[in-house]
Symmetry: C2
Subunit: 392 residues, 2 copies
DNA sequence: CTTGTCTCGGTAAGCGCTTACCCGACTATG
DNA sequence: CATAGTCGGGTAAGCGCTTACCGAGACAAG
């Protein structure tokens, strides 16, 4: 059937030896020209470069990594909700439910990863991405394997339990996202306190809402705790009723938000004037569920999110939320990780001669906890007028 | 400042030599136990495993790759729209425009990548992701570098020009997405003809629309051509007016769709009853622009998309589109690539003994062009009644 | 002319694994 | 009892790079 199956035959990529032979020099010279070391003579340089161009030589990553002890790859690991069924062939006809489909939990994570990737490219690094599923029984092994293919790791929220994290971070540089810095790991996060505080004040002062609920994310997430606290404090200081508790427990996913509301509605519970969600995903589920029960947002109940993921502005009503510089979060995490990697590799050198103490210091001082600013984005779901919605 | 800067000190991960020493065996035995070769004695096995556990040994990826000639990493490259400003510090206040922000071009690509990653994990592979920006002047070099860190490459639409692709694919297995198979590359895509045909027939027969425009994607994209043709043929055979031309040229992004409509509207051009967009992104921009001019969708103009990305159902009105099994597209691409990688590595062996011709055949026969089924998803934007929109 | 210094190539020793090959110990066979 | 065959462990040769080290030539100074 195939025209020429033989044509699929691959030829081995050229090695540095091939280049050396063609250029008539030793492999050391090739390496030196390519890496700009030791200032080779112009003629040598020309011959090597010509040979490289002729053969289309690009050095093998593994060999380079092994020899130079630098892979120029950073790993990023996130938590994934299981998939499976649809891939196994069944066409899951029930998947039409808007909140059952959690594909969009992609959003936040993926935008961060994009930020990491862009920053990495600037430094000639590549990104190795991996996910662990929620069960995560073998998460540790999987992360370890990835670690040995990288120079350092960036871990999204709740990928590893603290003990495992500590163990891992003893062997390889680790930066966490939306976690907390430890003795051996750095962390990058958005400014939950300030952003959520601003949002809460807006709801209380500008809209005059007297009852506010917080629909939580994962209970053990530092982000969740900080956001909840910020709302609680603003409510308390303004004498506004703060609603929370086990019924208001979500999971950062649209389905979690929808489910909480559905349960509340099912038992005919009283609902507050405003629902502050732990993140945009949750708000999305909440708005969907409220809409399908005919409850008007923001007329009857105001809803807000956190993150400002791209879909937020395409919802009806457009979602009021707190913007995090999502892509910057990723880029910052990479920059931090890279400085840790650099420190680590210097560490081996400079055996006794402690002269560069200053430069050394500079590296060590790389902050272990970086907090990026956030800000309120007022759109419609909080009750702000349709300022620019321009419907006819 | 730092409590204990010294504690950041990393210890080198253990090597196979450390394991061998602790277990009191040779490194060969360690390797054999770990890789299950040559059936080591039970006692040996136990000692090695104990040492591995004690030290927390995980083999170094680079060394393993170099020696085994298998990296267990596949690369995936996609095209990225530039970012830049916001990361450089400026807070780009004008970014509120819903269609200017192209973050969501993430969606389709990222879902595919997710599919690749999941499939890869099953085989113990990891994903190396990289992007090239639209200018793509050094795209070739970047892709080459990635290629040498991987066993094979999956390329999204329009990453490399055909000549470069051919050159690359001679050295490393390559699978393209939404492209066309060549002598040295395989390709995976959705069934554009069937899905778009079904959609067009729905608009024509079920809704009775008499004028239909096709808002195109990139002119040189095979997907775009196939989709356009499908619509054109259905229109022709039904005697329906098919509108197209340079004014109906988009770019697969929301901004492209919005801009086309804006221009059309600006010059007070006549608009058809239905606009079939090359993909969901484009439809999103079109709907946004129509809405801001007070044109009712689907009342005055019906709009449809292609892909069924997650946001599609959160739009108002919900977007009628053609569903591609996006995640499966990625998973299939990986499976295909892996079979190519396997073939390639077998190639070196079996020098003369051509006995296994059948098995060989089986591999060679791995399809070079895989087409996954698509299907119409009727929602609201085509004019179908709000069947399950369940307002109170 | 000798000697010291500097430049720039080549030689070879790894980097941490996998695996071909070898060898001793044991078992089955004549 | 001698011999072939099997089993399992050790030794060492790479995999394709980087780089420490050496040595040859050019040049300046003594």
């Amino acid at each position: 059937m195939n025209g020429a199956p033989a044509s699929t035959t691959q030829q081995q990529p050229p090695t540095i030896y091939d280049v050396a032979r063609v250029a008539g020099v030793s492999i050391a010279s090739v390496s030196r020209v390519l890496n700009g070391h030791r200032n080779p003579r112009q003629e040598t340089r020309d011959r090597v470069l010509a040979a490289v161009a002729e053969l289309g030589f690009v050095p093998d990553g593994a060999a380079r990594a092994l020899s130079a002890r630098l892979k120029e790859v950073v790993g990023v690991v996130f938590r994934r909700v299981p998939w499976g069924e649809s891939h196994e062939g069944a066409d899951g006809a029930g998947a039409e439910d808007a909140v059952a489909e959690e594909d969009e939990s992609l959003q936040f994570t993926d935008v961060i990863n994009r930020g990491i990737e862009v920053a990495a490219q600037r430094r000639g690094y590549n990104l190795l991405v991996g996910s662990v599923d929620v069960e995560g029984h073998d998460a540790h092994r999987r992360v370890m394997t990835m670690a040995r293919k990288c120079d350092g790791l960036i871990l999204h929220d709740r990928v590893l339990e603290p003990g495992r994290l500590a163990q891992l971070s003893r062997q390889v540089p680790v930066v966490t996202l939306a976690g907390v810095a430890t003795a051996t790991t750095a962390n990058v996060r958005g400014d939950n306190e300030s952003g959520m505080g601003e949002l809460a004040r807006h709801l209380i002062r500008d809209h005059g809402y007297l009852t506010i609920a917080y629909l939580a994310g994962h209970a053990d997430s530092p982000d969740n705790l900080a956001r909840r606290l910020a709302v609680a404090e603003e409510a308390a200081s303004a004498g506004v009723m703060f609603v929370h508790g086990p019924q208001w427990q979500g999971n950062y996913l649209a389905s979690g938000g929808a489910k909480a509301i559905r349960n509340l509605l099912a038992e005919k519970a009283w609902l507050p004037r405003a629902i502050v969600c732990a993140n945009d995903q949750t708000a999305l589920g909440v708005m969907y569920e409220l809409a399908s029960h005919g409850i008007d947002v923001p007329g009857q109940i105001a809803v807000t999110g956190f993150d400002d993921i791209p879909v937020a502005r395409h919802l009806r009503p457009q979602l009021t939320t707190v913007r995090q510089p999502i892509q910057d979060l990723g880029a910052t995490a990479f920059d931090l990780l890279r400085s840790m990697i650099a420190t680590r590799s210097e560490q081996g050198n400079e055996p006794a001669q402690r002269e560069h103490e200053e430069a050394q210091r500079e590296h060590e001082e790389a902050q272990r906890e970086v907090v990026l600013p956030t800000r309120l984005v007022r759109r419609e779901s909080c009750g702000c007028g349709a300022a620019k919605a321009g419907g006819s």
